[in-house]
């Protein structure tokens, strides 16, 4: 599996870098926060991304995509992470499109994927049911009655939950048995009767929602994948999300490392640049090394998606390392900047906050190391 970008992917990355640095600097995010923008992203930015064809990068070519693969999507997300540029890209492509690519029937793929590629459809995955990420034990219930499902239950912390055009909801439709796991994924229009969306404000100023379902009726034609047996599809979808989120996190970590090293070269105390103090040098060097090994795990995992390999171990490895190094680097960024690192004027707090939310999203390191251990039978 390749661990380096090919020429086209490098061009995509470089274009994304230039564009985001210019058109979506951290100040854009600050502006949205200051304006109390509930959507959490700029429509203008999203439209420019659509014009550049970004929603299409990871969509297969036969469905109107550009076929750059998830390595391409990861490269964009990594650059977006550097400036904290938010958009529907992550949830629509990494989670939504992934579920449809791997679980959708032909009709669903032919209607939905070209729309995603054209930027005409945004998606969110409504899956969590508690403060901690879980992939098993879903309680949100759907009773299957002939040609329709009736849903009762609730979902929490749905990223883009109040924005997305369509929700993909993970549901319990049967008790697990030897043959079937009892899990079903369904596409649901958020304006369907019986759905109540409650916005949740999180520290990263992005859009999240708790969603309640009361006797919500959905056609069985909206089921993605196999009825009563889609835990594997759900896991695979979540793994796409974990890997792509890890890529975004690396961008943020890189930006914070660069900013901190720059500060160490500039700030003077005790008559010298503080970057001349070995106590800080060694910690900065350690941060650099940690980030580089995390990058390798993430590109390896992105590559595994494109090569159709098993994702469980590589996704858990990538997310663990991205969590740990982003936390390390944002904590150290604050500490090494000292008091000003805690002021709202500096951008550091934005990264610190985004880091905490993304660490919890789709599994913290404890979750992923536990999963890694189980998969390795220990």
């Amino acid at each position: 599996m390749p661990l380096a970008l090919n020429e086209e992917q490098r061009m995509l990355r470089d274009t994304a870098r230039d564009f985001l640095q210019n058109d979506a600097p951290v100040n854009l995010m600050r502006q949205l926060r200051d304006d109390g923008n509930e959507q959490g992203y700029s429509d203008e930015l999203w439209h420019k991304m659509i014009e550049m064809g970004w929603p299409a990068v990871a969509i297969p070519e036969q469905f109107g995509g550009l076929g750059f693969g998830f390595i391409g999507a990861g490269a964009i997300l990594q650059e977006a992470g550097k400036t904290l540029a938010n958009s529907p890209f992550f949830n629509t492509v990494a989670l939504g499109a992934a579920a449809i690519i791997h679980g959708g029937n032909e009709a669903q793929q032919q209607t939905l994927l070209p729309k995603i590629a054209a930027g005409e459809l945004t998606l969110a995955l409504a899956h969590e049911e508690s403060n901690h990420h879980q992939s098993r034990g879903i309680q949100c219930q759907a009773n299957v009655d002939g040609e329709q499902l009736m849903i009762n239950g609730s979902k929490q912390f749905v990223a883009e939950g109040a924005n997305a055009d369509l929700l993909i909801v993970s549901l319990r439709t049967a008790e697990p048995s030897d043959k079937k796991d009892g899990i079903t994924l369904a596409l649901i229009d958020p304006s369907t009767a019986g759905i109540k969306i409650n916005r949740v404000n999180m520290i990263d100023s992005r859009n999240y929602a708790h969603i309640d379902f009361t006797n919500v009726i959905v056609s069985a034609g909206n089921v993605i994948g196999e009825l009563d047996n889609s835990q594997t599809l759900l896991d695979k979808t979540l793994d796409h999300g974990r890997i792509c989120l890890a890529a975004e996190m690396l961008g943020g970590a890189q930006a914070m490392l660069d900013k901190t090293v720059e500060y160490l070269k500039d700030r003077e105390q005790f008559g010298r640049k503080i970057g001349a103090f070995q106590a800080l040098q060694h910690r900065a060097a350690y941060m650099f090394a940690e980030l580089e090994i995390a990058k390798s795990a993430v590109i390896h995992a992105l590559s595994a998606i494109d090569e159709n390999q098993d994702l469980a171990l590589v996704a858990s490895s990538a997310k663990t390392l991205a969590n740990d190094c982003y936390r390390l680097i944002t904590d150290e960024a604050v500490q090494m900047h000292g008091g000003i690192g805690l002021t709202d004027e500096m951008d550091i707090g934005f990264y610190l906050k985004r880091c905490r939310v993304s660490m919890q999203s789709l599994g913290d390191s404890g979750f992923h190391k536990n999963r890694f251990a189980k998969l390795n039978q220990f």
Partner: protein, 397 residues
Amino acid sequence: MTDLTQFKRETTEWLEANCPASMRKTQTRSEGVFGGKKFTFPSDDAKLWFDLMVDKGWTAPQWAKEYGGAGLSSDEAKILNKEMDRLGCRKPLIGHGLWMLGPALLEYGTEQQKLEHLPKIARGEIRWCQGYSEPGSGSDLASLRCKAEDKGDHYLLNGQKSWTSDGDKADWIFCLVRTNDEGRKQEGITFLLFDMETPGITVRPVPLITGESHFCDTFLDNVEVPKDQVVGDVGKGWSVAKALLVHERTMMADIEKNMPKPKFSVDDYAKNYLSTDENGRLQDGLIRDRLAQHMIRDEAIKLTQRRAFEEGMAGDFDMRVATIFKYIGTEEKTNKDTLITDILGMAGAGWDTDNFSEDEQTKTHEWMSNKALTIAGGSSEVQLNVISKRALGLPEI
């Protein structure tokens, strides 16, 4: 191209016909053939294999024939190497002479020095040791003080060298000495060769915490060394030493490649030595977490080496990343050794040979001896200095 194809065929045939079966297995350090006047071969097969390879000039395949080699082109040498790897053939001869001094002499030595020393190295007649570190000069090697006084036709040496590996078994030493106290400390260092039997040399093995003693203290007390045994220019020994360091790293990698693969992986130890619940899950949650953490990091480090190579090929490699490998690799290795001994419990802290299995003894031994990894060849702290200066551009302390 047809020449190379023919060379490959002949090489394979010769190796298959001549390499004894027992020489086609991985080897431990004690089975290595180092050569030298005091050396006894670990087995008859080792001696036979060594003699056959010396005759072919294949102990130093790329050295010219007059230097004891076979004069192979680099393509031919690559084929030979690859075929030996493929067939699992052991290196017939290893050591400081072949892998470190030899290449340095080819680059910096006089013709007379090459003709004098290279054939004896290639034929395993002389075993070499390295005299670099001193009691007061470890990480800061360039501060070395071992004094060489100019006495007209010879130098008079006084001082002490530490960590002379196998100094008690070597016949000759290549040594860094100070010929000038003025100017930058890197200048004024000279690279000298001399016979370990020269009067005035005392070698004392240093017992290590493992119970072994691969290293010696070497005392130099009015040792006379003829001036024609200087390699490179007087006062320019630092450059020779640096060139040689590159060869040291190649050698370490080569030795690693020839070592037996570990019988068990870390998680095997955990499953074999610790209690698990009915689902096979380790009951000790802390060990389970450390084990997962180690396995994830270990793989990521290997991937980083591969990534560096692939990005290099694609012309997209950030050279700064190369500074992390020594640090991150050795730290993770010692972390692994510690984890294994923690898993073994008391069985990872045994000393005698009766109550502990061979494997337990090995792991306990590795935990102790591998502590050297984060110290030798530039300690972790020196590596972090290098990363902060070269990769991050932070100012001098």
